[in-house]
């Protein structure tokens, strides 16, 4: 069993996080935005699990569990909002929703 | 504990007045009257027993309540009274009653909430005049402002939102500077003595290096000078005064302005004696400029209340002049001006309010020759205008003369310029009399066309208020000693403490 450098796990998490971020920033379709958010959350979870392995402690995984719960709740609410939005505006383009400006 | 009771009565009376509106719309004003009479009794008792009390004379504080409030920062609930505070309390309670008289028939809507605000403002003012802890002082400072903001914003005239916001911004920004300076002072106390303290006496022991002292002094000065208001900080006042309901104007001009002057005497100079001494020429210059500039502006106004507001600024210049002369004459003059101006300005605002109530306008272009229709009101207006002009024999003269006399010892140039204000005050005051009360009869369209009944002269409540205030001014003018005696020992102690030779003579 070879040793995996600790940083590599974290770097992977960072890359995934940045990919998700890129998705959030660039996509106009709200479904994609929500998926990208999931990617980011997942990347965070990955970072926690890597840390758990690094310190050989279970609490990192507990944090992962919390994130999982959070992701579940967020997706539920987010999808509910998407449905509502589609019903109201017949689109999934978030740039349509720009009423809240100064 | 009496001051505690005093504040409590006003707070509770306010709350009760608000609550009672649900039962009957007439009830709040009677509750307010009871609360004010109760506090008047307390202050009166204080005045009478205070003279007999061996603790009170020689400029000593008569500490009436002292309890821990927030011990972590050395904040205490400490209130006390000395001669100067007592005079201010008398003024406050008296003008509170006058404001009630002004509101008696004028305020019809949401009267419960109005009297709540009125009494809470007064409670804040009482707190300001008695606090011995700077944090507590600032607390009351804010308590007095917010109800006043509401009074202007809810019961004010046509442009009330603008005026209320302006009032709030000015007082709040200057209040923040004040708070910052207070906290800095407490912090320096913690550095030098190892513990935070906001105690008035403890903070006097803090040693400050020159530049720091100057900056903190400026923080205090701006805070109080805005309230006073002194020349470049006066812009809020004309709007606030002209838009506030009569009772609000009475309180603003009569009492709230005096808190600024009180703060200058009580805190700014004693806490920062050296910085104040070097700042005094500027302050006196500002005072002289303010007197002349605002007198000129007053002359240019067409809105009666706005005109009176500018005259207030002009007269407060004499207070500033007297305070920064920092000798016994100047200080006594400032105190007398505060008292007398409280009476005369309050009465003039009530007259302006009474005219607006009758004619539905404040525009002087639209009134003329009212003497023939409203002889009593006009006679009263003449009396108080003459008082404001500084006629000897009335209180304002004593104040202005002593202020100028004191200022003359400190700065001759400023005094000479300020004295020119006496001429200008005659110019604008007589212009008001001429425009409004003399001249051919002219009434705003649709007013008082019917031969009688269209315009009612003074009612009983009004007559009582004006009569009391007129008597007060006469008393101040003919025997000011009964007021000067109260403040003399306090002021002498302050002078001694700041190392200025008392008496100046």
């Amino acid at each position: 069993m070879d040793a995996i450098p600790y940083e590599h796990g974290l770097i992977l998490a960072a890359i995934l996080f940045v990919c998700g971020l890129l998705g959030v920033l660039t996509r106009r379709n709200i479904v994609f935005v929500l998926m990208s958010l999931e990617i980011m959350l997942n990347a965070c979870g990955l970072a926690f699990v890597v840390a758990s392995a690094r310190w050989q402690h279970a609490e990192g995984q507990i944090m992962y569990l919390m994130i999982l719960t959070l992701a579940a709740a967020e997706v539920a609410v987010g999808l509910g909002l998407i449905i509502q939005m589609y019903r109201r505006f017949h689109t999934v383009d978030i740039s349509v929703l720009n009423e809240m400006k100064g | 504990m009496i001051v505690g009771w005093l504040i409590a009565i006003l707070f509770l009376g306010g709350a009760l007045a608000w609550a009672s509106e649900a039962l009957d719309a007439q009830l709040p004003k009677f509750i307010a009257l009871l609360a004010l009479l109760g506090s008047a009794v307390l202050v009166g008792w204080l005045a009478l027993s205070g003279q007999a009390n061996p603790l009170s004379p020689q400029g000593q504080w008569w500490v009436l309540a002292d309890a821990n409030w927030i011990p972590r920062f050395g904040i205490r609930f400490a209130v006390g009274v000395d001669g100067l505070s007592l005079l201010m309390l008398l003024l406050t309670v008296f003008l509170g009653l006058m404001a009630l008289g002004a509101a008696w028939h004028e305020i019809r809507e949401r009267s419960g909430f109005f009297y709540f605000n009125l009494l809470w403002t007064l409670a804040g003012v009482v707190g300001v005049f008695t606090s011995l802890d700077l944090f507590l002082f600032f607390f009351f400072w804010e308590v007095m402002l917010i109800p006043m903001y509401l009074i202007i914003a809810i019961w004010g005239h046509e442009n009330r939102a603008y005026a209320a916001m302006k009032f709030f911004l000015f007082t709040q920004v200057s209040g923040l500077l004040l708070l910052f300076a207070i906290v800095c002072l407490a912090w320096f106390h913690a550095q030098q003595f190892g513990a935070f303290s906001f105690d008035y006496f403890a903070l006097q022991d803090v040693v400050l290096e020159g530049r720091v002292q100057t900056w903190l002094m400026l923080g205090f000065f701006v805070g109080f000078a805005t309230k006073l208001p002194a020349f470049p900080f006066h812009a809020w006042l004309p709007d606030a005064h002209s838009q506030a309901p009569t009772a609000g104007s009475v309180l603003l001009a009569g009492v709230l302005l005096k808190t600024g002057a009180y703060g200058l005497i009580r805190f700014t100079v004693p806490l920062f004696p050296e910085a104040s001494a070097s700042f005094a020429p500027f302050a006196m210059g500002l005072a002289a400029v303010g007197i002349l500039y605002c007198a000129k502006l007053a002359f240019a106004q067409q809105d009666l209340k706005r005109l009176i507001a500018y005259t207030s600024v002009s007269h407060m210049g004499f207070v500033l002049l007297g305070v920064y002369a920092w000798n016994l004459y100047g200080l006594q003059g400032a105190v007398m001006t505060m008292l007398a101006h409280g009476f005369s300005a309050a009465a003039l605002f009530m007259i302006a309010g009474g005219l607006q109530h009758r004619l539905h306008t404040r525009d002087m272009q639209r009134m003329s020759g009212l003497w023939s229709r409203l002889p009593m009101l006009s006679a009263m207006a003449l009396f108080f205008t003459v008082a404001a002009v500084g006629m000897p024999g009335l209180g304002n003269f004593i104040g202005e003369f002593l202020s100028l006399l004191g200022a003359f010892q400190a700065s001759r140039v400023a005094t000479v310029f300020a004295a020119l204000g006496l001429v200008l005050s005659a110019v604008y005051s007589l212009w008001v009399i001429q425009k409004v009360f003399h001249g051919p009869l002219l009434l705003p369209a649709g007013q008082g066309r019917e031969p009688d009944g269209g315009l009612a002269d003074l009612g009983t409540v009004e007559l009582l208020c004006y009569g009391l205030m007129a008597l007060g001014l006469l008393w101040m003018g003919l025997y000011p000693q009964s007021f000067l005696a109260h403040s003399a020992s306090v002021l002498e102690a302050l002078l001694q403490q700041t190392g200025t030779p008392g008496g100046g003579g």
Binding site: V24 | A235, A300, F397, L405, W431, L441, G503
Partner: protein, 630 residues
């Protein structure tokens, strides 16, 4: 009697309070009794006090009513000081005041503001008595301002006419300028001497100041400012002619007999200070001289009966100032007294004329009134004779004394004397011009053009016993007042030696006024010369110089226009320009800047979700970047 001194001003003050509290609902009879009676009581009291004091060898005394205030060393009291000078003043004020009050009960009988009028009058008398009784300058200042206020109220008594209000305000503001100078003088005196008590000051000043020292000059110049304002001398004389807008008894009481002479009283009272400042004293003399000549010329051109008398008042006070300026203190006070008599007489007589002619004041619309208004005619004749200083009238003695004293002035004696005599010539000219135009010549009254009956009914002398009695008494005083001895020697010390003028100068002093009367007769009076006189006047007016001089004099030497241009207009322009308060504008800019800043920030809030996300990430990158690459 001395302990009752405090009651002197208290009687009229009580009258004032009663009349004010009655709120005009009191019957006229009672109001009149209260108004005139209170002053009468004061006069009786003053008389008894005077007798008491004079029997006591003129010993001065002080009565303390109460301590006014006590601030450190500053402790002025409500206390009265009575000496010879005070006695003269209180007798003149309460005596002449009583007579004028009496006259006014008839003169004002039909006025709706009857009670108001008498309340103001009583307040005036009270304030004036306080002014002359005060033992310290602060109390004097109280009276000083009090009479100014009453003067304002009474000039503007008929308030429904805006021009009356303008005149009243002008009077108050112009005198206020002088008052302010005086107030500054008080500050200076107190800061130097440590007291405002007049007698102490007069004692201390010579000990502390040398003659001609800067402080003495400044203090006396500042006091002079006050005196000049109140007494309508150059350069603050412009208010008095306009002050004639008030009812005629007011003009008699305030603007002739009492208040306007307060400045003379002030200087006489503080004469020690002026003696310490010879340059200021000389200034007083020249102010008096310039004023008396200037207003003499102006009086020549006026057509309003009261304005002529007003300018004559200014001119006569100019004589008093001349006397003060040359150190003839008692001569000044003497002239003050006689002037009070004859000028009050003239004004009251003028009032009768005006009342009889239904408020006609233009002398060129009167004429030949000597038959119709016999009492007024005789009063005018007596008054003008005294004013012109014809021999054996009261004015003759007082003016004589002044001119002789002026002659005795060390450096400018001849100049001052010549000016004074020229002034006397002018006085004769204008006062008899008035008499001849009004009472002789052709009847030019408007009423004559209507029906004969109507005209006769119109021009009936308005005369009742209460009007006649004061006129009679004042007439007698104007004739015989010169024989009254003014008991002021103890006040000023009989220091000035008698000036011996040559017989020629004496004769000149007697003859020149008579010469003036003759010329006036020639130009305005006699029927035979009237044509020629009118022709002469027309010729004079036709010439460019004559016309210009006439207009210049008529306008009071253009002083009003000058002040309008110099002070009033700039002030009005400033007021109009800055009605909205420039300082407020600055705060307005601050608010504007905040608003602009806000709109800039608002543009950042696009409502676009991705923009928000990007700015969020940008901020995150910034913070992390700062954390990493510190």
């Amino acid at each position: 009697m001395q302990e009752w001194t405090g009651l002197l001003p208290a009687f009229p003050l009580a009258g004032f309070v009663l009349l004010v509290l009655s709120r005009g609902r009191m019957p006229r009879g009672i109001a009149g009794v209260i108004g005139a009676g209170s002053v009468g009581l004061s006069f009786l009291l003053a008389l008894t006090i005077a007798i008491g004091v004079l029997n006591n060898g003129g010993q001065a005394y002080t009565t303390v009513l109460w301590q006014w205030m006590q601030v450190g060393d500053f402790a002025p009291g409500f206390s009265f000081y009575v000496d010879g000078l005070t006695l003269v003043m209180i007798l003149v004020i309460s005596g002449v005041g009583f007579l004028i009050h009496l006259y006014a009960t008839a003169y004002m009988a039909d006025d709706p503001g009857f009670a108001r009028f008498f309340s103001y009058m009583n307040l005036f008398v009270a304030a004036m008595l306080v002014l002359v009784l005060a033992d310290n300058l602060l109390l004097l200042y109280l009276g000083w301002e009090g009479v100014g206020l009453c003067s304002y109220l009474l000039i503007g008594f008929w308030y429904d006419k805006p021009e009356n209000g303008y005149a009243a305000r002008k009077a108050f503001v112009v005198t206020r300028v002088g008052d302010t100078s005086m107030a500054i003088g008080l500050f200076l005196l107190f800061s130097q001497l440590g007291t405002l008590n007049i007698q102490q000051m007069l004692m201390l000043a010579p000990q502390q100041w040398s003659v001609g020292s800067g402080i003495a000059v400044a203090a006396s110049a500042l006091l002079l400012g006050g005196a000049v304002g109140k007494s309508a001398q150059l350069p603050l004389q412009t208010w008095l002619p306009d002050a004639m807008a008030g009812p005629t008894p007011i003009s008699a009481l305030i603007h002739a007999a009492t208040m306007v002479t307060a400045g003379v009283y002030l200087i006489a009272r503080t004469h020690v200070l002026f003696e310490l400042a010879p340059s200021v004293q000389l200034l007083v003399a020249f102010i008096g001289l310039a004023t008396l000549l200037m207003s003499g010329f102006t009086a020549l051109t006026q057509t309003d009966i009261k304005r002529i008398l007003a300018y004559s008042t200014i001119s006569q006070i100019g004589y008093m100032f001349l006397a003060l300026g040359v150190g003839a203190w008692s001569a000044a006070v003497f002239h003050l007294m006689t002037h009070a008599f004859f000028k009050a007489l003239l004004f009251l007589a003028a009032g009768t004329v005006i009342l009889s002619l239904h408020h006609e004041q233009d002398i060129f619309r009167m004429g030949a009134m000597r038959r119709r208004l016999p009492v007024s005619f005789w009063c005018f004749l007596v008054g003008s004779a005294a004013l012109t200083a014809l021999p054996f009238t009261s004015g003759f003695y007082s003016k004589d004394e002044i001119l002789l004293a002026a002659l005795g002035q060390e450096h400018y004696g001849m100049l001052l004397w010549t000016g004074g005599v020229l002034g006397a010539f002018l006085t004769a000219l204008y006062s008899f011009r008035l008499v001849f135009v009004v009472f002789f010549g052709r009847d030019r009254h408007q009423g004559s053009s209507h029906g004969e009956d109507h005209a006769h009914a119109a021009v009936m002398e308005a005369m009742s016993p209460v009007m006649f009695f004061p006129l009679l008494l004042l007439g007698l005083l104007a004739l015989g007042g010169g024989f009254i001895h003014v008991p002021v020697d103890t006040v000023f010390g009989a220091v000035h030696e008698e000036v011996h003028a040559s017989q020629f100068l004496h004769a000149l002093m007697i003859l020149i006024p008579i010469f003036g009367v003759v010329i006036a007769w020639g130009v305005y009076g006699s029927a035979s010369y009237q044509k020629a006189g009118e022709h002469l006047r027309e010729r004079l007016l036709a010439a460019p110089i004559g016309r210009r001089a006439y207009r210049f004099w008529f306008s009071g030497w253009g002083m009003d226009a000058l002040y309008q241009w110099l002070f009033v207009n700039p002030f009005m322009v400033l007021a109009r320009l800055n009605r909205k308060d420039a300082v407020d504008q600055i705060y307005g800019w601050v608010a504007q800047a905040a608003r602009v800043g806000n709109s800039v920030v608002v543009m950042l809030q696009t409502g676009n979700l991705r923009w928000y996300a990007i700015s969020l990430v940008g901020g995150m990158v910034l913070v992390i970047g700062l954390g990493v690459w510190r």
